[in-house]
Symmetry: D2
Subunit: 395 residues, 4 copies
């Protein structure tokens, strides 16, 4: 670590983000990382929330900033974290999303089928580790949860990780849905480590409740907003339809559309970003396939499919009614109409009782899961996933 | 209403508050209203949250601002509200707290026993109505819920009134507990009137949930914060002890301490504010009664009693232990020690299922109480009051 | 205007933007307007300020919001503005930037040479006027300053127009350079019209000074920031070099690069956005022309030319030194090296004394230009343009 | 310094203020310091800006927070500051205002004539030093500028001290005059020490300009606002008149009114706060002296004298006109009327060219005063004091 290396980046969310480690600065300067400037964080959410155009680079810088702060607070409380571990944890969070492709989650599993973005992130981090002569090994160990101090991994991926804290805060900021803001500063100040596990001090309980309710709100008001859902569904169907009918476009996207995924290289993946998909969409607006061109023009000119949410399964009669009308209006076959009229299920869980836990450390040394404390807001109601059924169809 | 009458007041919470009605401007200029500058909104909360020193005048101006906005939104949606009704509703909210005495809620029922601040408000509004030649009559009818358009009263006093919206927003702002902030702007935009009743549009559900959770948080983190509770308990006991031992102080407070409440005049009430109580406390620091002087010095120098919260009744053994220690340390009798060592119950309900309702208006015209909608956050858990037992004792 | 037409859009800057006019809603829904989603407001500024990725659509919605508010305030003060004029002024500001092409100002006059974006805006507004059966005529008259009530044009284009107020506020917000924020709310509340001219009330003087100083700061700290300047210079040189060497790319950009501008159609212009330029840049990274590929890789991977500012002309010796080094490092000819090593002048004026004026209306009815009031901050120093000379060269 | 001592205080301005030093915690808990809770920061400004009710305790905690941060930044840049010096600098700023009496500046030199608040602060700090067994000696040396590292004193008292940064920020926050906000975070990050002197990095120039312009705005828009000036003038005249006619009130204020200042003790000074003055004002509302009772009722009921600003000396004819009208209306003598009708001069300097300097450190190592850099905003115009003449008289 170079002494006195010091750069600051303006961030409207946190004020200033400090980079005071030369290796981290070099990683940020690498083309793999710079590519994240061209990957939008929230895919099509900007069609409803015009401010939501921030990039995945910005989010991962923000998560890095919170990690840096959390590590400072924890070491300030006497938790033993060496400078090397701090550097590694910061690198791990900086790179946690580096495997995202065009439009992030919206096209995950669609463009590169069978590949989760975390696997791609790992492949790319290993690639960078090679470039930087093995200096990223500890970051890889933390990222893959092989490092003994488990709380470092929990800070990257867990119920209270800095990833979630940043994306909720940042997405709330850029959408203007201020109700989604979380008290990241208070939560970070309440973090403690006991027996190697990340916990929250007793007096942070209400902040955690607020965090979980904010997340619930962000899901239904933003991420699963009807119009956002419609647009992201359309985006997915554009790629799927293009694969289905073998529509051509410029490289490297063309390889992802028209070749088996096994033949595509990591380099090709890394040379692709939102621009490639948008350009294909612009060209396919004039494609002879009516399904593809309709979907593409829909995204381009914001003429989106209509979405209706139901608390129960969509009635067959409604599906038939919409299908018939669409077949007629667009002159589509029974097979093809299902690309424009379809149903699905949107789901969100506020707190997962099975797999994840937020541990509260009481003043007397006791530890309880937040779902079992007295007067808990987070119990009966928030158990299990909330599901909503939806139907999409042309207006 | 004078044409073009127009004044603006800077408010750090909302930016600018506009006064565009001459009668309202005259009411604000009246000494009864100006007295509210000297009544703090949050009593002793500033001992924990140093920013919480805002006045009740500021709060009632804020509530007026939200009322003005809510009326604009509702008329914009076609709800029939005449200019006279608008003026009356604005006057009613402006004056809703005018009956508060020194330190507001903290000394309510203690200084002027048996008198609720709303009764005192009504007495003072009637007094002003006399001064302004009966021009406040419609405001009185709305305030007392005798006016036919019930939703106007609901805006002043109900689950979603502008009073609550302002005090949560403002108290959150001045304490710096940003998690208590509510999306007043969004909620106001979601208000509708159906069948004369105030309701919230379906798409405002998550904002309402957030509002109720914010309120829950503000109660436990601020209003019932251990140290705030201790200080406000001490303040009450100062007045009670002074009455008990007939401690003298300057007028008009002396009359409230040493005369039957029936003999005290409304004028005397109106000439009293926080300064009177603070001056008495400063003088009583040197009072020979050890209980009174201890409590007074405690408030003045912020040497507060210690509070412990328990989820169950306080064990007798603990009370005895603390009483014995205090008797010894202060040389107090069995009777007097109970002024410094005592137990009580703090309670807060997020949503009152019996008396109050937040109605949600669905797009299809259906109306449901928020506690009965699908996937409601607000049901099982938030039913009934949350109680915490506490004990206070000298440190 | 349809009764009760009402839509709200979340905006992180102003909270909510209200659309309550069906014609305006239809204009926003038009593909010409939706295209502005794909034109970034600040071109390459995001390479320094990662949050600065907001779109020109967002800015023009914001300017519309301020116009709506300013009209409300002025009519509230008794200025005569008919509903038709209000609608027209709102349409004019909504569309004032519709003629911007890819990367807005950064590529203005470079892609479509000899065409100012305001001329293109006017062409497109006329096109829309045709589509909407002449309902935009009054908006055109205001836009072109042919409408008798000159203050309406001043609100769109003048020293204190809502365009500037929005872009300073918005660019400050998204960059996180909070010092560039202007008190748009206070300024709007201080606007008055006298003798048909837009003025500012006396008590708004300090806000205006602050506005001009904020603008000065935004120019030097953001718009003309060394690194932003370097990147935007590189962007321009990419297009110019591509024209120079007839580099091919996809349509419609190819026509703008390789055809006389006279042969390009408005439709082609409208089908082009930032994506087209970015895709060409990505492809040209592999172009055999070393100048073009160097510039393109520089933008893509953020390997920017270095910029140095000087208060006087750049010394010839420095230019020669950098040119020689670059010729050697890149193997370039004397002609070609000037594409990578070059000098220029950056300029900003805070207040233009010749052409523009901010009139202050005093309480006694007098009117003075802000540069002539007592104790003016805005006089000697801010007269004339501030110029800085710069040199760009490879690091 | 106790290991792991750690307390946080919520502050709406900065989020959280951390106290991590036991001595500092004990100083804050001392009655001398707690008294500052009852001294308002902005005296009568709340009569115009209702939010401006924050206390001097809150301001000094805020200044402490900025000092803590500035010391962190400077040590992070390699400036040598020992832990003892850090503690001392933090104590010095924490106590810099401890000598303020009721209503701070508004009654300085009026209540305790001939005593500047900094002398009183020093007396009280020495008193505390005695209590804390000499542990405040280094703080005293820094406060009195006898400590060799001069930049520590500059942080407490200089053109860019944390005192100014906090009061501008805080007063702007609580008044809602957001234009007065300064970029304290950016300025602190730009501070450097060269040759023992505090300087600002070159890239901070625009932030400094903005800081000086914000200060100028705060003076004229807030501190010297006509109505605020009127109210504070009245407050001063109340005390002066009470001294003049030997009006009685409760102790300890009575001693300050009716005894030679030499006979008053420091203890008496410390037992006095805003409440004492307000109670006297309330009682004097009924005083037989018409001048005193008029001024007191004016403050209590916000019936203030009217103020008019002039750029030149007030015409004698106007003074005579107002004096005659007032004599008649109030039945006052020629002598007494001068207590209600009087003239004065309000002055503010943005940047003092003679005594104070803001040094800019350029990248090449050169140092220049900000008033001499190229294109400086801060030169001709801001030289010397800006003066406005005013006249006060009953409405």
């Amino acid at each position: 670590m170079a002494a006195n290396f010091h750069k600051i980046i303006n961030d409207p969310v946190y004020g200033f983000i400090t980079i005071d480690d030369e290796l981290i600065s070099q990683i940020i300067a690498h083309p793999h990382y710079q590519r994240l400037r061209r990957i939008s964080q929230m895919a099509m959410a900007h069609l409803v929330y015009p401010g939501a155009v921030h990039s995945r680079l910005h989010h991962s810088l923000g998560a890095y900033h919170l990690m840096r702060w959390a590590l400072q607070e924890l070491t300030g409380k006497g938790v033993d974290i060496t400078p090397e571990e701090q550097q590694a944890a910061k690198i791990a969070i900086l790179l946690h999303d580096i495997g995202h492709g065009p439009f992030s989650h919206a096209l995950e599993h669609v463009l590169a089928e069978h590949l989760h973005h975390e696997e791609l992130s790992l492949m790319l981090i290993r690639d960078l580790n090679h470039t930087f002569n093995g200096r990223l090994q500890m970051a890889i160990d933390i990222f893959t949860n092989k490092y003994p101090k488990k709380f470092l991994h929990q800070l990257i991926s867990g119920q209270l990780d800095v990833d979630r804290m940043d994306y909720l805060t940042r997405d709330s900021f850029f959408t203007g849905v201020i109700e989604g803001a979380v008290a990241y500063d208070r939560i970070i100040k309440m973090l403690v480590v006991k027996d190697g596990v990340l916990m929250v001090e007793e007096k942070g309980i209400y902040s955690i409740e607020k965090f979980l309710v904010a997340r619930r709100l962000m899901y239904w008001q933003v991420y699963l907003h009807k119009t956002v859902l419609a647009a992201e569904q359309m985006l997915q169907r554009i790629i799927k339809r293009a694969k289905h009918i073998h529509a051509a476009c410029a490289e490297p996207l063309n390889s992802f559309i028209n070749q088996p995924i096994a033949e595509v290289t990591l380099d090709q993946f890394c040379s692709m970003d939102d621009n490639d998909v948008m350009m294909a969409i612009k060209q396919w607006c004039h494609h002879p396939d009516i399904v593809l061109s309709t979907l593409c023009k829909g995204i381009l000119d914001r003429k989106l499919l209509k979405v209706k949410y139901f608390s129960e399964e969509i009635p067959e009669s409604l599906i038939k009614e919409k299908s018939d009308a669409t077949k007629k209006a667009f002159g589509l076959s029974e097979d093809d109409v299902q690309w424009l009229v379809y149903t699905g299920v949107a789901a969100s869980s506020t707190y997962n009782f099975e797999n994840e836990h937020i541990q509260i450390l009481f003043k007397d040394g006791n530890v309880k899961d937040i779902s079992t404390v007295d007067n808990a807001l987070i119990n009966e109601n928030l158990k299990g996933k909330v599901k909503k059924h939806y139907i999409c169809f042309p207006q």
